[in-house]
């Protein structure tokens, strides 16, 4: 396992230095991409894909904090994602709550659930943690499928449109800007978190839990904190997805969906916030592109996944960043 690198980047003068951190420069680039992207989005189908990418990216950013920075795997985050959506749907559709309040309540409830189950779960390590989170996800999925009077069962349920103080969110374009803002907020929060003392503690945990503990890092507390944060990120994305689509089914909570989310994180690059965004982008687009292959879709997707992990074992973004760095060094020489 690699040791956590806490060394800051080399100092550069003036504006260049100010922009060179991912917290400012990277965020600026992402904001630019978001603002300019609508020039390329020719119809509502393209907008829909862009929205899906952004929503998946929000989940992946949270999950990457847990997997990439804290080094704790979760194979159950689709459960939190679906609970966020179902909670908001049930409160607003069946109890007449205003949808924005339903969404906040539902996400807070998921955070609370993650706090309660996270305590015993995060004491487990490695594959046992994978097993426990997988089990949690499957239990959530079974409950959502079986309690059909509340959730509509395997067929799913309709979700009312999201409205904030009477302003109803309609149309792909409106949703694009709302989801884009949420994505920027998520990236900004995550970047701030990993530069904070909590982030440094997490990276120390990833390097060596015992070493971190001897230095006074309360590992259980930090792991639990980031588990809850990642669950809330997933719940927010889940609630937004449900309100955007106007519909939610238990398919959102399955083991396969949890696995897809983890694949996005590892594919894009662990311990890289922008890696999570790239992973979400590639793995949301790829199935859309592969649908032309019809029956061969699953096969090709599996082959692409294997090949990528063999040639980019650290994920796309960190591997490319290293290539770029060595290229720069080669030019300077």
């Amino acid at each position: 396992m690699r040791a956590a690198v806490i060394v800051s980047e080399p100092l550069r003068p003036g504006l260049g230095r100010w922009l060179a951190t991912p917290r400012r420069g990277g965020l600026l680039v992402l904001a630019l991409v978001i603002v300019l992207l609508p020039l390329l989005l020719r119809n509502s189908y393209f907008y829909e894909i862009a929205i899906l990418v952004a929503l998946n990216a929000i989940v992946c950013i949270g999950l990457n904090l847990l997997i990439g920075y804290a080094g704790q795997i979760s194979l159950g985050h689709a459960g939190f994602f679906a609970l966020g959506g179902y909670g908001s749907a049930i409160l607003s559709a069946q109890h007449g709550w205003p949808s924005w309040l339903a969404m906040i309540t539902s996400c807070a409830a998921v955070g609370l659930l993650a706090f309660v189950v996270g305590r015993p779960t995060l004491r487990l390590k490695g594959h046992y943690l994978a097993m426990a989170t997988l089990g949690l996800g499957i239990i959530i999925s079974i409950v959502l499928t079986t309690e059909d009077r509340l959730t509509g069962g395997p067929d799913g349920m309709a979700v009312p449109a999201l409205s904030v103080f009477g302003w109803v969110l309609r149309g792909e374009r409106t949703w694009y800007w709302v989801v884009a803002a949420a994505l920027l907020l998520a990236v900004w929060l995550a970047l701030n978190l990993i530069e904070s003392p909590t982030g440094r503690a997490l990276r120390a945990l990833h390097g060596s839990e015992i070493a971190a503990q001897t230095l006074g890092v309360d590992s259980a507390r930090f792991k639990l904190r980031v588990f809850v944060i990642s669950a809330v990120f997933a719940a927010v994305a889940g609630a937004l997805t449900a309100h955007y689509a106007g519909f939610i089914t238990p398919a959102k909570s399955t083991f396969m969906h949890s696995v897809e989310l983890v694949i996005m994180v590892v594919f894009g690059g662990m311990a890289s916030i922008f890696g999570a965004v790239v992973g979400a982008l590639v793995l949301t687009l790829l199935p859309q592109l592969l649908t032309v292959l019809e029956d061969y879709e699953t096969m090709v997707f599996g082959a692409v996944l294997i090949a990528t992990m063999i040639f980019f074992p650290q994920g796309i973004v960190p591997t490319l960043a290293r290539w770029l760095a060595s290229l720069k060094q080669g030019l300077r020489r």
């Binding site: 396992m1 997997i67 795997i73 015993p120 779960t121 004491r123 487990l124 390590k125 490695g126 594959h127 046992y128 994978a130 097993m131 426990a132 997988l134 089990g135 949690l136 499957i138 239990i139 079974i142 409950v143 079986t146 015992i210 070493a211 083991f255 396969m256 696995v259 983890v262 694949i263 590892v266 594919f267 662990m270 029956d295 061969y296 879709e297 699953t298 096969m299 090709v300 997707f301 599996g302 082959a303 692409v304 996944l305 294997i306 992990m309 063999i310 074992p313």
Partner: protein
């Protein structure tokens, strides 16, 4: 004990024996590579589907079954050579993603090579149910139990009595020390994939006459096998068998007495409870980290 109990126990043990075979595959590969092979369930599918194909081609059952198991073993070896070997130095998480990719690849290939329909396999010795102590048992259930018992006996002979089996155990215990003693650990990794694939395929062939088989049967059986391996303690062979049988029993009794919709949820709740109190599984190694 009344008939209902016996009935649920009998059906639970049958499923449990299947889980145990799949769980053994997980533990064998974990011991050789330190990774979880999420393509393990696909070997179950390949076993069942190949047997159906061989029978369809006119082969007698006694020839189709071993052929199907061998075919799956070949797929396991190929998988190790083409996907795992090139990524030997990668992290465990990366290896896991590769096996997930492999499971999608195999499932996709099955979908193209065969089809998406459900296929029956004829039972090994007729469909006439037997009456045993008040419970009704399919003859195929006895085949499942006997087949699993035979496989476990064969494995304990292989790991306890043969040089290569001992080499595999040595590699699981300490790969570096094993290499220093002249054990070819790459061969061990290759063999473990072949062995795990054959065990999975055996499970697939044995259960196909009861549950039928299709291109996606491997998904749930793979998950249950993983759960059974963790319940018993990852890497422990007696643990895998115990975990599989227990998981099957819990499911059988849960489905019978509580709710068949919630049988899987009950199984996972119990596994979580066990792991919370015994974080290394029932028979897992009590390991301490060296600082």
């Amino acid at each position: 004990m009344n008939g209902a109990w016996l009935q649920f126990i009998a059906s639970g043990l049958t499923v449990g024996a299947i889980y145990a075979l799949v769980a053994l595959g997980f533990s064998i590969i974990y011991n050789a590579s330190g990774a979880i092979n999420f393509a393990q369930g696909e070997f179950v599918m390949i076993g069942g589907m190949s047997a159906v194909t061989f029978v369809g081609a006119g082969l007698p059952l006694w020839a189709a079954v071993p052929l199907a198991v061998l075919a799956a073993g070949g797929v396991g070896l190929l998988l190790e050579k083409l996907a795992i070997e090139p990524a030997r130095r990668a992290d465990t998480v990366t290896l896991i993603i590769i096996t997930i990719g492999a499971s999608l690849l195999l499932r996709g290939m099955a979908q193209v090579l065969w089809d998406k329909r459900v296929h029956p396999l004829p039972a090994f010795s007729g469909d006439k149910p037997l009456q045993l102590l008040g419970a009704t048992v399919l003859p195929q259930s006895l085949w499942v139990l006997a087949g699993a018992a035979l496989a476990v006996a064969g494995l304990s002979w292989f790991f306890g009595r043969t040089l290569f089996g001992k080499a595999m155990r040595a590699t699981a215990f300490n790969p570096l020390a094993a290499r220093l003693m002249g054990i070819n650990t790459r061969q061990v990794l290759l063999a473990s994939f072949g062995l795990a694939a054959m065990l999975g395929a055996l499970a697939g062939v044995l259960v196909a006459p009861i549950t039928f088989t299709s291109y996606d049967t491997g998904v749930m059986l793979g998950l249950k096998g993983f759960a059974a391996a963790m319940l018993g303690g990852l890497g422990s062979f007696p643990g895998a068998v115990l975990g599989g049988l227990l998981l099957g029993l819990v499911e059988g009794l849960g489905a019978g007495f509580v709710s068949s919709a919630y049988k899987d949820a009950i199984a996972f709740v119990i596994i979580l409870a066990v792991l919370f109190f015994m974080p290394g599984g029932l028979l897992g190694a009590r390991r301490s980290d060296r600082v």
